[in-house]
Symmetry: D2
Subunit: 359 residues, 4 copies
């Protein structure tokens, strides 16, 4: 397994859905930084199950403890370890799938790869472990705060309901005012309605999250194999259920002409661009414009209807979802997208301190 991410600001993730706790080690957080415990809490709350009628009913308080790396409220430079309890597990909800492969879950691939797996709640493949990522993301955001870099994500699509307004015309600060985390109240209501309806049908839907990083520093990114887009893309594709990621014009850019797509530079106090089809990254390095990207999530694999499948012994069988599950992951995935982005950026801000000779 590869459970570490990053070079200088490096996180190591551990834990399973139904173990006693999950957690994260953050190695490389600079020393002397104020650690805001309430902020970590509030970020975990944004991701927590049971937060609204359109999420899973698993009820985690997300009680956490920092067991290393912080002294008298400040980081010491030592690894920061955060442990988050799994307090509301119902492992018996999973006893029927001990030996059955749920379609489009990781049961089969984990079994084949490892030969021995913790099936309870999906074990290591559960999105439960992203709580640790969000805790680490909270630390990363604290670090980024002093650079003014601001990371923000929102739901831009839930199933067939799509937010068409460009983000620059939206008030992103309204994202947290509704349970689906869409900054447009009207579209948010449509999304909530669709998710609620889907839930009643025992079915699920996918969606898209848009990420926007503003007040960007120019010069973040480490070509040629750690380009900023490659690193953010890597982090996004590490999130459960993500099937695609695009930057700036993305797949739409394929049909544009160079004369349309090119972002003309504009002189001024600082150099800017007229358009931002590049999504704030050129040659793998940030150019100071907003970093804009979209992340596609497939529909949740656990549905409440019966599906054909196969068990560990190769027999055909059926399976039906039990337990408590999200009908659509994107509302709760917003803080995950933000956290993973912040973790990557914190690493690159530190990397950028080492680029130039400066005799």
């Amino acid at each position: 397994m590869s459970n570490s991410l990053g070079t200088l600001f490096k996180i190591t993730s551990f834990g399973e859905s139904h173990g006693p706790s999950i957690g994260v080690v953050i190695d490389g957080c600079p020393s002397g930084m104020d650690i805001d415990f309430d902020f970590i809490k509030s970020e975990l709350i944004r991701r927590r199950p049971g937060q609204s009628k359109i999420t899973t009913a698993r009820n985690e308080t997300e009680a956490f403890e920092i067991i290393s790396g912080v002294f008298e409220g400040k980081s010491t430079g030592a690894p920061i370890t955060i442990i988050i309890a799994n307090s509301d597990t119902r492992s018996k909800d999973y006893s029927h799938i001990t030996n059955v492969y749920r379609p489009s879950h990781a049961d089969y691939t984990y079994q084949e790869k490892y030969g021995h797996r913790d099936h309870r709640g999906g074990g290591r493949s559960s999105a439960r472990i992203t709580a640790g990522w969000v805790a680490a993301g909270a630390i990363a955001k604290m670090f980024l705060k002093h650079t003014n870099i601001h990371v923000q994500a929102f739901v831009s699509q839930a199933g067939t309901v799509k937010l068409e307004t460009p983000y620059t015309k939206l008030d992103l600060s309204k994202t947290e005012t509704n349970i689906v985390r869409c900054p447009d109240a009207v579209v948010a209501d449509q999304m909530i309605e669709l998710i609620s309806k889907t839930k009643k049908q025992g079915d699920t839907i996918g969606g898209v999250i848009t990420g926007v990083v503003s007040n960007m520093t120019v010069g973040l990114g480490e070509p040629v194999f750690n380009k900023l887009n490659a690193a953010i893309g890597h982090a996004m594709l590490s999130i459960n259920a993500v099937k695609g990621v695009e930057f700036g014009s993305g797949f739409e850019g394929a049909i544009m002409k160079g004369s349309e797509h090119n972002d003309a530079f504009v002189a001024g106090e600082k150099i800017t661009t007229k358009t931002n089809h590049s999504g704030g990254i050129q040659g793998g390095i940030s150019n100071g414009e907003d970093i804009v990207f979209r992340v596609a999530f497939k529909p949740v694999a656990t549905i409440m209807n019966e599906q054909e499948t196969v068990d560990e012994y190769g027999n055909t069988t059926t399976v039906k979802g039990k337990g408590r599950h999200d009908p659509c992951v994107v509302p709760r995935a917003v803080p995950i997208v933000e956290s993973m982005t912040a973790i990557v950026l914190a690493d690159f801000v530190l990397r950028a301190r080492t680029t130039k000779f400066e005799a």
Copy 2:
């Protein structure tokens, strides 16, 4: 900079567009493997400039030399270093942009990040360096050959011309029969016509490449931060001009229901799935189905028409492409996509040897 990729099968890239040569070091290639020099040559030829009327006229013979790691035709386990000459550089074509930032190129970001850059032909940010990646990819393909894993890519979109037929209904072996590398001859002609027309206009277009990996081993991928999709995605987003990547259903999956999207398992000699919306990867691990992904390329930034821009001193100016450039990168990017995929897979095949206890 971060110029290495991979954990066990690791490549280190070096060189600039107008330096004496570019190259690659491959560290971790298993020993005792026959090195097929002709195959390296043929792969380089697929990527080389000047190969057809729809590519740049820069005429590289791609003469290469293996200066380490191979003895009596076989790998020794020592790092394999391949040097490829830059023989047809015309640095004076770039003298007009010594201090000018070409729109949507990496001139501005490199200058801001490094303070000192080789502007000739884009220097380190040039796609010229992907010749080294293709040489490394050829080695990776030789290694994969013994596992039967087969990596194949083709152009599925050039500007507005899109190949709508699903890849399973195409004969992918026909990909190399035309200069645009689209396996459907009719669509290929349309693409070639569009690219030719665009070239005459002094403009450029983008496109999409589809990658398909068949005969996949079950169990490749290293959760949770080196999932197979994350690693391939990272590699794709490292390629010049790539703005997006999606696996299986990708962005389309967002509008599907779970009941539609789930890939039902089917019993048999080996377990398969009825559909493949997962794109061959579940929980970050290959499930034995074809790995399918799409890679979006933006239009080439160098156009032959005048554009507004800014110079290093902050003055507004204009710039116009000189020299020899591709009107559309996707035909030549096909071997690059394949190579980067093969490099990632070689790494994961080696990783997979270390997963289980096997007392």
Copy 3:
């Protein structure tokens, strides 16, 4: 900070001397391996403070919990996290050194490097954290067991008392029969007497530990920058108070002639060598002979006599040890040396699975 070690069998250490607990994450332990909880316990007991009259009186029961990566008694391939409680901390013993730099401790360097440090019990610089390394080492030893590789260490010098008998003439299984961990009972008694006497004087002494790895696999080691000796040496120099490491003939080899030093190969069922001045490693790769190395430990820096020093404000002051400390670390460092060696070897055994092509 850099708190991870290893490539495939990788440990991440965290925790401070007086935090709630310390621990370790082991990423890359192969799946399906039986985890022997009693063995972990017994290894921790070998390292634990308060184990005898010649060690510190800090009384830790070394209660530990595995919070991830193990299911139904077997490893799952997921990261294994082990948490060990700090139950007998007396932070007030350190209040007098909040702002004072103890000579030859890490107080000054941590303060200068990080600006903010946990001074209690030495914080992150305390040898307390090696409990986590020993827990990880126990897992590594379980893994090595199936290869027959056997790691053993013993005290070969305590202050001026030196064990002169070559290890091949000793019964190493007697190492654990005395509290100083020297396999020769007579010399052990001399060592115990010297340590006891030194303790009464409020002073401390250093020592040397010899490591022997038997039943070695031929071919472990990754030249040229991860040679087996470099990796073991790195691990040894990571242990608190270690000032030197040597392999085979070591520093004595400098005065030998090539004709004396060379280890003649001997034909047989397997190839062996007549002598073992190489210490079982040639060209950075194991040759199947015993790996033999010696590790030098300086005397413990905390002494009970008054010493001149400087405080954080640059003022001259004095400091005197309080609290509970070891008069000599080597008896308790034996399991640490073994653990770090086993961790390195587990990594290299996995690496060796990826060396050859094996079509």
Copy 4:
């Protein structure tokens, strides 16, 4: 294989003794640094074979070329690749050992590990490849120059001839005034005489090199697994023929008492220590005192007298050195020790830029 070293200032080594050339890629050298080609040349000359009557007669001019990463005399931040030709190889001198294992060489271990090896001149296991390390070390020294950190090594022992004067009483600038690189002229003559005599006997001797780093920055080192001593130790143990390394008091420290060994802090403009038994490193971090270490080299394995050995087929046979070899490696290893030290320090200087929060 693992042919890269370092995190931020990272080198990748490649090449074999009798290939067309050997070389190094330096990734992470900050941009905008003047590259002094003459200095690289002069460092290579210090290491080159054929430099005096007490070294091998292989006559390399060490012609090198920088093929990437430098533009208009300055580093660009792109990887710097340096290629050094192998111009004076005599592969036939090795034809008699194609299938014979030379005692205490790496022939047997390479053959067992890789199954296929380049035997000519030792192939990848040859010290020839350290020329690349010295070239990289020259770049590292250029970088360190602006920090004032000064790396210096000298021969302190050749066989039985030992320099007893402490380095603080020596004029280290005289090191290069004699061919053995010992700063004391009288002892140097004794060393030269011993080496010459040994050479005539067809035999070889070992030796010790002392490294001294002065004007050290306080705060370099990354606990707990990349302590400065562990990283330097790792680098030293990567050098061919090295069997041991010790810092400060080293193995002698084992017999000292804490009250003798502790380095009392002394107030002043900057904090210093009365003694330096710590060798300039406390808790894995530099304290500003000189870093002092000793590196033990075994005698050269190639001797001109007949030795018993075994061939690849397991038959007993004999072997005798042919070709051109050093009777003692330490004179030529001085620049190698310095280079590897400088490479490690450059990495840690960059790392140290990322330690603190600095809002």
